[in-house]
Structures are given as structure tokens and as C-alpha cells.
């Protein structure tokens, strides 16, 4: 089979010392970038892009791709340890990962995240190797009408997965969408909801400071409260958890295996679609695991499945997102857009001809991703112990540091004071929301999916020429609409059913 020959050829490229070095540096830089708040993978790749002008394109691509998938793992480290998601793809990880850390199980959480990322990353690359061109074509059948229905379906279904009262989840989804409408509208460019007395609102509100505030800063306030409450009582003076275990137990591994598998497949398929695939996939994976679990009540209180599934999903989604780039030359996200730029500067245009015209580049990259994922695992497993010990720092030491970490991160996204304001205000709001029994994950979802919904709404209207009933005649949209109607009618149906049972 020729794929094997090609792959072998790819390994001959990837195993060149310079490319090995590039893959390793990429994985390390990516992990650091994921850990450091604010400076996301897009920023890091943009900064490093000029350096790659002078080196061989395949080496450059190996380095840049390494940063991309390394950062997906790095983001989970801070989510687990201090409840600060470095990027939106690790918001869901905080739900159970941070709870595990508080129970002294930071080690298993980090290790499972690393293992899940490795499995998912490797599977994702296998997917690229064998299915790239075919899947890329299939993804194109998704047009604005399909995105509109997908976004609506996501906003309807996913808020429920994180638990809590339904009206509270939907309230926060709505808040998220509304926050995202501030600033320029996604297709018209008109500037909305930016009153003249707050000029910085024109630039819109970035979701990273919101996420860091809702989780990180809110947790600062919360742990300040808990620290003072507990330090009054002698039995709570040493309330910091002991490291219960450093490595996942057999039981942990057994419980994580299936979620990793499901998260991997799910993430890969969702990653193929344009838009925030890696973020949405984490929510879906979390909801799925909670539905399938024998003990759903543990979710949100430190269930390892809640880390394993979403962490795998976002990594295989990362691989999935490379497919449209490599096979069609279409960047579906800003990061793959940067990679495209990085390739094109060398006069190489990715697309259907890339595999034929530049086999060393394509297969070298693929092979390097197998190697890079192994490197990521080797680099990160030994660090688990070190990181896990960080979770043992007393709150009075950790709390001010987390605050500093969030502030520096928020400022460095756009070098803007407004992001610091957004961070602190979302922190205070997040604290109050938690007190009132709200879980903030749906808000982040709303901010991410809102712009996609809005852009596709305008486009759909134009494409179907104002005839909205047409949505029922397109197969994919019809299925999604039917699902939505079913979800909306389900509570009414069950209520009626229960009543008739009672009567009988």
C-alpha cells in the first residue's frame, strides 16, 4: 500500500535531526504558551513566523504545528491546577479537573489529560493520514444554513450538560451571546453596543479575559473566603489537601479508557468543520460522558471521565482542523490561517496538489506529528509530579499569585487596559453568579457560538432568498431542525405522559 511507503518517506524526513529538534521545540514552546495565560497559540505562531522565513519550509511547518498541538495540552495544566483556563478549549476541563486537584488528585488529572491528549493526537494524525482528502470534501457540504442550525442546536442542547437549573443555563448562554455582539457585527462591520462614554468597547470583548475572570479571579475571591473561614478553626488550619496519589490508579485508567476513545472520535469529526470546533467538542464530550456514566452525580465533583473525554476531544479536534488546511488549503480557524501564511511565504501553496508537489512537506509533517505527540507525552509525564506539588501551596500563597497570573495574561492578549477591566469585573460577577447557583460554562459557549450563529443567519437569509421554509427541504438542516423540535417538545411530552400515567 502506497500510504505506508509515503509514511515511511515522511519518517525519513521527520527523523532528520533538525526536524526532530523542531518538533521538540514546538512541543515545549506550545506547552509553555498553553500554560502562560493570554499569549495563545495564535500569538505565539505570529511572533515566531518571521523566524521561520529563513529555514526549510518542512522544518518551519513542523515547528509551528508543534506549537499548535502542544498548546492544547498546556492549556489544561492551569485549568486543573488553579482553575484558570488558558484558552476556551480547556474551560470544561476546570469543571472536574480542578475539583480533582482540590482532593489531592492533581497528579491523576494531569496524567490522564496527557495520556488522553496523546491518544487523541495520534489518532487524529492517523485520521489525517488515511482520510484527509475524503473528509475535507465532506466538510464542504456544510454551508451557512447548516451552520445556522448547528449553532442553534449547540446553544439549545449544550447548556444543559453542565448541570444546574435550565433557566439559569439559558440565561447565561444569552448573556454570552449578548457580550459577543458588542463591537463589530461579524458580517456587516457595523459597531454595536459601544456607547460613546466607553470607547474601548468598540473593539469588542475578547473571551479570554472573560473566561479567566469567571473562573480564575472568581476562584481567588472564593478561596480568600474559604481560607479566612477555615483559618479561624484549628481543625482546618491544614486544610490544604495532601497529595492523595501522584499517578492514576488502575481504576482511574479503566474509567478513562472509554471516554478517551469517544472524545477522540468526536473531537476529530467536529474539528473538521469550520469554526470553533475544538471548543464545542469539549462541551459535547462532557455532556456525552455525563449521560453515559453510571455515576453522573460525581460529575462536577471530580469525576476523572470529565477530564479524560474533553481533553481528548480538543486534541483530536486540533488534528481534524489541519485536514481542511492540508487537503484543500482552506484555513478554518485563525491558527490554521497562520500556518497557511507560514507555508505560503516559502512559495508553497497548500491544497489538493500539496501531497503530489511537496511530498516531503506533507508526509514529513504527518510523521513529525506522530513523533511530536510522543515527545509531548515524554516531556509532560515527568512534569506531572512537579506541577501536582504546586496544588499543595497554601491558598494565601497561591491566591495572590493566581491573581497576578490572570492580570498579566489578560493584559498581554491585546496590550489593552480594557481587558484587565473585563477580567476583574468578570471575576466579581463570576463570584456572585456562583453564590447564586450559576455555573458559568454556558456563558463561554454563548460567546463562542454567538458570532457563528449571527454570521450564518445573515448569510442564510441571502442564500435561500428569504424563503426560510427551504431549511426543511435541505437534508442536513431538516434533521437538525427535527432534533431541535424534539428537544423543545420533549419536556411537554414527558409531562403529559406522566399525567396520563397518574390518571390511569
Amino acid at each position: 500500500m502506497s500510504v505506508w511507503n509515503d509514511l515511511l518517506f515522511g519518517f525519513s524526513v521527520a527523523l532528520l535531526p533538525i526536524n526532530l529538534l523542531a518538533a521538540a521545540s514546538g512541543a515545549v514552546i506550545g506547552t509553555i504558551v498553553g500554560v502562560l495565560p493570554g499569549l495563545g497559540p495564535a500569538g505565539a505562531i505570529a511572533v515566531l513566523l518571521p523566524i521561520t522565513f529563513g529555514i526549510d519550509p518542512s522544518t518551519a511547518l513542523v515547528l509551528l504545528a508543534g506549537i499548535y498541538y502542544g498548546s492544547m495540552y498546556g492549556g489544561s495544566i492551569t485549568s486543573i491546577l488553579v482553575k484558570v483556563p488558558g484558552e476556551a478549549a480547556s474551560v470544561v476541563t476546570t469543571l472536574d479537573g480542578y475539583q480533582m486537584a482540590r482532593q489531592g488528585r492533581a497528579g491523576p488529572a494531569l496524567a490522564i489529560a496527557a495520556i488522553g491528549s496523546w491518544v487523541a493526537g495520534t489518532f487524529g494524525v492517523i485520521g489525517i493520514t488515511f482520510l484527509a482528502p475524503m473528509l475535507a470534501k465532506a466538510a464542504l457540504t456544510f454551508g451557512p444554513p447548516e451552520y445556522l442550525c448547528l449553532a442553534a442546536l449547540a446553544l439549545l442542547l449544550l447548556p444543559q450538560v453542565t448541570g444546574g437549573a435550565i433557566w439559569k443555563s439559558y440565561a447565561l448562554v444569552a448573556v454570552g451571546v449578548l457580550i459577543a455582539t458588542i463591537g463589530q457585527d461579524p458580517t456587516g462591520g457595523l459597531i454595536r453596543f459601544a456607547p460613546d462614554f466607553i470607547p474601548p468597547l468598540r473593539q469588542g470583548i475578547d473571551f479570554v479575559p472573560v473566561v479567566m475572570g469567571l473562573y480564575g479571579v472568581a476562584e481567588v475571591l472564593r478561596s480568600a473566603e474559604e481560607w479566612i473561614m477555615s483559618s479561624g478553626r484549628p481543625e482546618h488550619v491544614t486544610s490544604t489537601p495532601k497529595l492523595a496519589q501522584l499517578w492514576p490508579s488502575r481504576e482511574d485508567l479503566k474509567r478513562s479508557a472509554a471516554p478517551i476513545g469517544r472524545g477522540t472520535v468526536l473531537g476529530f469529526l467536529i474539528g473538521l468543520l469550520p469554526g470553533p470546533g475544538n471548543i464545542i467538542s469539549t462541551y459535547i464530550s462532557y455532556g456525552l460522558e455525563k449521560k453515559l456514566s453510571k455515576h453522573p452525580e460525581e460529575f462536577g465533583k471530580g469525576a476523572i471521565e470529565g477530564v479524560a473525554g474533553p481533553e481528548s476531544a480538543n486534541n483530536s479536534a486540533t488534528a481534524g482542523q489541519l485536514i481542511p488546511l492540508l487537503a484543500l488549503g482552506i484555513p478554518f480557524s485563525s491558527i490554521t490561517g497562520l500556518l497557511l501564511g507560514g507555508i505560503m511565504i516559502h512559495g508553497i501553496v497548500p491544497g489538493p496538489r500539496l501531497i503530489v508537489d511537496h511530498p516531503h512537506l506533507f508526509w514529513g509533517l504527518i510523521a513529525s506529528m506522530y513523533i511530536g505527540n510522543v515527545m509531548l507525552l515524554i516531556l509532560n509525564l515527568p512534569m506531572v509530579g512537579l506541577f501536582a506539588k504546586l496544588s499543595l501551596l497554601t491558598p494565601r500563597l497561591l491566591t495572590p499569585l493566581v491573581l497576578l497570573f490572570c492580570i498579566v495574561g489578560a493584559f498581554s492578549i491585546n496590550n489593552s487596559l480594557m481587558d484587565v477591566w473585563v477580567l476583574i469585573l468578570s471575576g466579581c460577577v463570576g463570584y456572585l453568579l456562583q453564590k447564586a447557583g450559576y455555573e458559568p460554562a454556558p456563558l463561554v459557549l454563548g460567546m463562542i457560538v454567538g458570532p457563528m450563529l449571527e454570521a450564518s443567519l445573515t448569510q442564510t437569509g441571502l442564500i435561500i432568498e428569504g424563503n426560510w421554509l427551504q431549511l426543511f427541504s435541505r437534508p442536513l438542516t431538516a434533521i437538525m431542525l427535527a432534533l431541535m423540535i424534539a428537544v423543545l417538545l420533549w419536556p411537554i411530552f414527558t409531562r403529559a405522559h406522566n399525567r396520563s400515567k397518574k390518571l390511569a
Binding site: I345, N414, Q459, E465
Partner: protein, 328 residues
């Protein structure tokens, strides 16, 4: 306890060193002859697009002319008015430049309320153009611009064309073209250039209006995308196979142009230094080669000529927006 002491001592040492280093490095930035410190280019878009890429290429090739270095900062949002406003209100010392395009400097100001006017910035020079390209998914119904126009004439109101946004220059060029050709095209706005391509390839819109660099990335041998025309006076070096609209009988030209601008109050002497040095960079063969690879058309113009061109484009855009009922 001993180890705690040692830990404390090394912490102390670290603290002292950190503070000392910070002092030493911040003391280095003394003023003397321009340019005596790092120059900041603000790109009013996020990383990854042609503006960002070109600004970074200029920074990369300016190392001899600006030895202290140039850093590129992205300030996206507000339809590029955020970054532009940052420059307009920056210290006029020549160390903050804007890498600005036609829309945010002129044409879009008809439609988008901006906190600055066209008089608040000073152009240094024009860097070049990204002419608009009309591209379609390969289709037996049209293999050139004439056939496309013919089809649109016979099927009015059904031909949808993806644009990078309602306020984009590409959309304006599309409207100019539709008027010249006497056809009706439905303009479907997407969020930026890259988002248009999946729509075209999936057949959700029949054509797309992209910038030349984005068009080059997609219209190539073996791909499903065909570039029907480039709206430029002559063919563009990076995409020599794409015929101009004029060649095919439709005299329409339109482009996003890129300029370097500085705050209005920047001293003439400093502006001249920037202009002279950047002019050299724009003529550097290595730079030109890198830009040709991405189909960016480098074209130097001095500030006066560039301003005249922008003013003309502002007027053209104003008339189109008025016709569309979009003018504020």
C-alpha cells in the same frame, strides 16, 4: 529550617536581581537621533491575514534600516477602527505606525462610525495593493467572465457572491462591476476573506470576491477554484494567469491598498526619515520576491500621491454607499 533560610536568601537575591535588571533595561531607552528605539507597527487586524503578514515582512526586511527593530502589534476589532484610533491618538514621535488599508483609512468611514476622521492621520507612503479577484468554483456554465455575466443576466437575483464583509472594499468593487456589467449580484457577507472559500467550494455561493493573496492561495492548478478576473489595470505578478476584467471588456478596477501612516502631529523631519528608509526597503529585491510569492503587489507612492488616490476612492465609495442606502 536551614533550608528555609537558604530558600529565603535565594528568593531575596532573585528579587534584587530582578529589580536591578528591570532598572538597567528601562534606563537604556534614551532619546537621541531618530530611530533610537524600537518602532511599533500597529496592524488593525488579528494575526494571520495579509495585513499582518505584510507588516511582519516589512519588519523582517527593515533590520538594516531600523537597527533597533520593529515590532508588529495586532489591535483587531471595531472593523479595524480600534487599531487605527490607537495610532491616531498615539504619541506623535514616529515610533508608532499604522499598517492601514483603504477601508479603515477612507472608504468604510462612510458607513462605520469611527472615532477619527481622515484628517487625523498623516500618510508616510503607500506600500502596495491587493487587487480584488472574482473567483468561482469550476463549472461548465462559465469558464470566463463573459459567460458568467451572461448567466447572471439570464438568471437575475440568483447569483450569490461571497464577500469578506459588507464594509469591505471587495464588496464595493463587486457593486461597481455589477453596475458596469448591468447585472444583479446578491452580495453575501462573510467574516473575512478566508471564510468565503468554503462557501464557494461547497457551492453555497456561486462566486467570491477576494484579495489577490487569498485568491492565489486557492485558485491554482488542480484546484476546484477558477479565478475569472482580477480588477486591476494590468495582470498581477503573483497570479500572471488571471486575466484582468478590462481585458475581458469590463473596465472596472479596484483594490485594497496598504499604507504606512503616523499620527498627524508627527514632525515632518521624522516622517521624512521613515519615508526614505522604508522606500529603500520597498525596493529590496529579497522583500519584493517574498511579496510576489504571496501575490501582494508592491507599489511605492509618496504621501501626496497616495493621499490623492485615497481621496478619490473615498468619493467613489461614498457614491456607492449612497446608492445602496448604507451611507450614515
Amino acid at each position: 529550617m536551614r533550608s528555609y533560610d537558604r530558600l529565603r536568601r535565594s528568593f531575596m537575591l532573585g528579587a534584587v536581581l530582578a529589580v536591578a535588571a528591570a532598572f538597567a533595561l528601562s534606563a537604556c531607552s534614551n532619546q537621541s537621533e531618530y530611530p533610537s528605539k524600537v518602532v511599533k507597527i500597529i496592524v488593525p487586524f488579528g494575526p494571520g491575514g495579509p495585513s499582518d503578514l505584510n507588516a511582519r515582512m516589512i519588519a523582517e526586511h527593515s533590520k538594516t534600516e531600523f537597527p533597533k527593530g520593529i515590532v508588529v502589534t495586532n489591535a483587531p476589532g471595531g472593523s479595524a477602527t480600534t487599531g487605527t484610533f490607537q495610532v491616531v491618538s498615539a504619541e506623535p514621535d514616529g515610533y508608532t505606525w499604522l499598517y492601514g488599508g483603504t477601508a479603515e483609512l477612507a472608504s468604510a468611514l462612510h458607513y462605520i462610525p469611527a472615532p477619527y476622521t481622515r484628517d487625523d492621520y498623516q500618510l508616510v507612503l503607500k506600500v502596495g495593493n491587493m487587487p480584488t479577484v472574482l473567483l468561482v468554483k469550476k463549472d461548465p456554465r462559465w469558464s470566463n467572465l463573459k459567460e458568467f455575466v451572461e448567466y447572471a443576466r439570464n438568471n437575475p437575483g440568483t447569483v450569490k457572491v461571497g464577500t469578506p464583509g459588507d464594509a469591505s472594499v471587495n464588496r464595493l468593487v463587486g457593486e461597481m462591476f455589477a453596475e458596469t456589467a448591468g447585472i444583479k449580484l446578491v452580495m453575501v457577507p462573510f467574516s473575512g476573506n478566508a471564510a468565503v472559500i468554503p462557501g464557494v467550494l461547497g457551492g453555497h455561493v456561486q462566486a467570491g470576491l477576494l484579495n489577490a493573496p487569498d485568491a492565489k492561495a486557492h485558485a491554482k492548478e488542480g484546484a476546484d477554484i477558477l479565478a475569472l478576473a482580477v480588477f486591476a489595470k494590468q495582470r498581477v505578478a503573483g497570479i500572471p494567469d488571471v486575466p484582468t476584467a478590462t481585458e475581458q471588456g469590463f473596465d472596472v478596477t479596484g483594490t485594497v491598498s496598504h499604507y504606512i501612516a503616523v499620527p498627524k502631529a508627527t514632525p515632518k523631519k521624522v516622517v521624512n526619515v521613515i519615508h526614505d528608509r522604508l522606500k529603500k526597503v520597498l525596493a529590496d529585491p529579497a522583500y519584493l520576491k517574498a511579496e510576489e510569492a504571496v501575490a501582494f503587489q508592491v507599489e511605492y507612492q509618496d504621501a501626496a500621491v497616495a493621499r490623492k488616490e485615497l481621496d478619490r476612492w473615498y468619493e467613489v465609495a461614498g457614491n456607492i454607499y449612497k446608492r445602496l442606502g448604507m451611507k450614515k
